[in-house]
């Protein structure tokens, strides 16, 4: 069987990169990931590249900056799971035996973009009610039939969990955000690394109740890239490369299976539960074996439901799990020690590789001030609406 390893990986500083475009950022991450793995473009058999907001064909644009070798390029697009999808594409190429080493990269420029998801069709100036689209709507439905905005959608996701199991109120969600912002102070690559008090978080500008501004993911610029290699090929590389390589024990991508309510509120739960279950089976481990988790906290309200979806607690037990202190960096199962998307930032297509970079950093024992001591196994999770979910389980090298 083809086992898969991360050989080299890198993320750029997340934040505002005013004087650099997506190709610059992606190329920086790619060249640093190659360097980290001790390999060059000549070793790569496949390139998978993700970018949502750019002009398309990002993979070939990157090749022009880092090396055009004629290898197959897959440009992928899968909402917030785009980075994980790029990584998985490179992994599938190796598993299929088409290549023994591959490169995945995700990049986004989002600084200053503002609210995502809202708006829809503008009301016409011509002033005629004319039915259009799949619902025959005579004007934009955003704000008239619920909300299309991401903070609003994910607020409802968290509030639904609270309705079902109880205990989740505004303060609880704000405390989750307090944790991630506190964690971010140790991450020099985070877009924001300022600690907030609970009062500051709850008193900040309300975006969509119960999510205030610091409880929302930070739009920013950034890139992340990874070099993956087959186990067989890795054996031919140096001992130092083998020692730093991180095993990909599970790589899973799911979409949302039909559920009764999914046409009116995206169901982010079922596909995450399915991905987690499959990933634990693939890796032959359970949630109890994890030393750290980077999960998709696009909003504070989302983090709560994913404690449950990833099996970090008993079903319905996410509030108790959080209140126990477990997901703090000194707790029993640290979650989002990078600061998460709320403070590290969320350059969409980079996110699904950046979270793997974070986990690899700890498994290699290279995370500096924020090192989770003795970390051997970690999980990285992303979800994009539509929906797509990526879960990767990573293990420290035994070499």
């Amino acid at each position: 069987m083809n086992d898969i390893w991360i050989l080299g990986i890198n993320m750029t500083k997340f934040g505002k990169h005013i004087d650099r475009d997506v190709v610059d950022l992606a190329s920086e991450a790619v060249m640093a990931a190659l360097d980290d793995g001790g390999v060059t473009m000549a070793d790569m058999g496949v390139l998978a590249a993700g970018n949502l907001m750019g002009s398309g064909g990002i993979g070939q644009q990157i090749q022009k900056q880092v090396g055009q070798t004629g290898i197959p390029v897959y440009n992928v697009s899968n909402a917030c799971a785009t980075g994980a999808t790029a990584l998985r594409t490179a992994i599938m190429s190796i598993k299929a035996g088409e290549s023994d080493m591959g490169l995945a990269v995700g990049v986004e420029k989002l600084a200053g973009v503002g609210l995502l998801g809202g708006g829809g069709r503008a009301k016409k100036d011509g002033n005629e009610w004319e039915p259009q689209g799949r619902f025959g709507a005579v004007t934009s439905t955003d704000g008239r039939i619920g909300t299309d905005t991401m903070p609003g959608v994910f607020a409802q996701v968290g509030m639904e969990y609270g309705h079902k199991y109880g205990g989740a109120d505004f303060e609880l969600f704000a405390k989750i955000s307090e944790k991630n912002h506190a964690h971010s102070t140790l991450n020099p690559l985070a877009a924001y690394s300022k600690r907030f008090t609970l009062e500051e978080i709850m008193g900040d500008m309300m975006i969509a109740y119960p999510n205030t501004r610091p409880m929302c993911s930070a739009n920013c610029d950034g890139a992340a890239a990874a070099v993956v290699v087959s186990g067989e090929k890795l054996k031919t590389l140096s001992l130092e490369q083998q020692r730093r390589a991180v095993k990909v024990s599970a790589s899973v991508l799911t979409s949302d299976p039909w559920q009764e309510a999914c046409q009116v509120l995206p169901d982010v739960n079922t596909l995450t539960r399915n991905a987690a279950r499959t990933a634990y089976e693939q890796a032959g481990i359970g949630p109890d074996d994890l030393d750290l988790v980077e999960l998709h906290d696009c909003f504070a309200t989302a983090e709560l439901v994913h404690y449950d979806n990833l099996g970090l607690c008993e079903e319905g037990g996410a509030v108790d799990f959080f209140n126990s202190g477990a997901p703090w960096r000194d707790g029993s199962l640290p979650v989002n020690v990078s600061g998460g998307l709320q403070s590290k930032g969320h350059p969409i297509s980079a996110t699904g590789i950046a979270n793997i970079w974070e986990v690899c950093h700890h498994l290699r024992g290279e995370a500096g001030d924020r090192q989770i001591e003795g970390a051997k196994v970690g999980l990285a999770h992303v979800i994009g609406l539509g929906s797509a979910c990526g879960v990767h389980i990573l293990e420290k090298s035994a070499a």
């Binding site: 609210l115 809202g118 708006g119 829809g120 503008a122 009301k123 011509g126 002033n127 005629e128 009610w129 039915p131 799949r134 619902f135 025959g136 709507a137 005579v138 004007t139 934009s140 439905t141 955003d142 704000g143 008239r144 039939i145 619920g146 909300t147 905005t149 903070p151 609003g152 607020a155 409802q156 996701v157 509030m159 639904e160 609270g162 309705h163 505004f170 500008m205 309300m206 975006i207 969509a208 109740y209 119960p210 999510n211 039909w258 009764e260 309510a261 046409q263 009116v264 509120l265």
Partner: protein, 142 residues
């Protein structure tokens, strides 16, 4: 709701619904869905095949005008042109989940809570140059 005077020009409808799945019948407006005749899954838009069981036969069903609020958010920051604040929610209408705004309730967490009983209501979105009035729907405390 008030009554609506019919237009003199009978070729032009006097009222149009915001969306096709809102039926403005006389004095009992309601929502409709396409229901899969095989598995009962319901859809507010057209489907080539059922997303749940892949069968291709559908019939129209009326959705209950009463429901319970299963989740909500109060949107304070939205795209330009969208009035804020407003309450967006998912309403469980006798087993069918419906997305909609809440009206006739203060848009704050002291007045809106999951589990509250709601009923369908309609309201005017204004009149176009041809004299046609668009009618939207929302839910209000029952």
């Amino acid at each position: 709701m008030g009554t609506f005077a019919p237009m003199a020009d009978t070729t032009t409808p006097s009222r149009v619904p915001l969306v096709e799945y809102l039926v403005l019948d006389d004095d009992e407006p309601h929502l409709i869905a396409n229901e899969c005749t095989n598995c009962g899954a319901r859809f507010f838009d057209r489907r080539n095949a059922c997303a749940s069981c892949f069968h291709t036969d559908f019939h129209q069903v009326k959705i209950s005008t009463r429901g319970q609020l299963r989740t909500f958010t109060i949107v304070a920051f939205a795209a330009p042109g969208v009035e804020v604040p407003f309450v967006s929610g998912v309403i469980d209408c006798d087993g069918t989940s419906v997305r909609g705004n809440l009206r006739n309730v203060e848009p704050d967490a002291d007045h809106v809570h999951t589990g509250m009983e709601l009923q369908l209501t309609t309201y005017s979105l204004g009149t176009d140059d041809h004299g046609t009035e668009a009618i939207g729907f929302a839910f209000e405390p029952a």
